[in-house]
Symmetry: C2
Subunit: 117 residues, 2 copies
DNA sequence: TCTGACACTGTACCCTGGTACAGGGTGCAT
DNA sequence: ATGCACCCTGTACCAGGGTACAGTGTCAGA
């Protein structure tokens, strides 16, 4: 079965704990995977990208709920309604604002390291 | 007393709740302010910048402990040791990495909104 | 075929970052 | 002199995001 991954393999590849994977599943952040005869989860390799996205976004201060929204957007570009676009634009604004804030912090740190010469 | 601010005034100006201010004080994120005769906290206007920094950093996913570190660095450029510089550079690396991640998300969102035309 | 590492479920627990009282004092505006 | 809004302390509680069992089943290698 090189096609699908177990919980532990996924954990190793993403750096997300096995229990957290179960937690994300309960929260609907990742779809319930198919199961083997004996009940083992068999994740399609696909979810790797999704999990890496979740990890990145979480690290940037997005809540799991916000991440869920972002994933909805990402998945739904077929549902190209004006509402989806509005949501995406709002999120985009948020992201851009975060970037500005990071830049401020970066500048401060750069000044600091420069001063430490 | 236009020179110093009460907890409530500070809360209004920063958007951080009065109880959270007390919490930050306990955690050492802001210094214990001087008190009036009757025990009221009298914050010097100075702390405004510090609090805005805290708020920004928190929004970017830094924990209060990390923020405390960042503030240490910021305050200590007199203690210009190689160690401080190293710490600052490590943090800087982290910040830059976060910016890259935000950029990825931004690109995804931009593609999305463009596709929703 | 047995043993060790992993998987399953459910439930309990934990840390972080606050928020919400309760029970009291202050201060200014009318 | 009396509200009313705000401040004080301490303690209890809460939500989010996991983490840790306990008890049991599975599977791959020696």
């Amino acid at each position: 079965m090189m096609e699908s991954l177990t919980r532990g393999q996924l954990a190793k590849k993403t750096g997300i704990g096995t229990e957290a994977l179960r937690f994300y599943e309960r929260k609907g952040l990742i779809p319930d995977p198919p199961r083997s005869e004996s009940g083992y989860r068999l994740y399609p390799a696909l979810v790797l990208g999704r999990l890496r996205f979740i990890k990145r976004a979480k690290n940037l201060g997005f809540s799991l709920e916000e991440i869920s929204d972002l994933l909805q957007l990402r998945v739904d570009p077929s549902t190209t309604s004006a509402q989806v676009r509005e949501k995406a634009e709002a999120k985009l604004e948020e992201v851009v604002s975060k970037m500005r804030d990071l830049e401020k912090i970066r500048n401060a740190l750069e000044k600091l390291t420069a001063a430490c010469r």
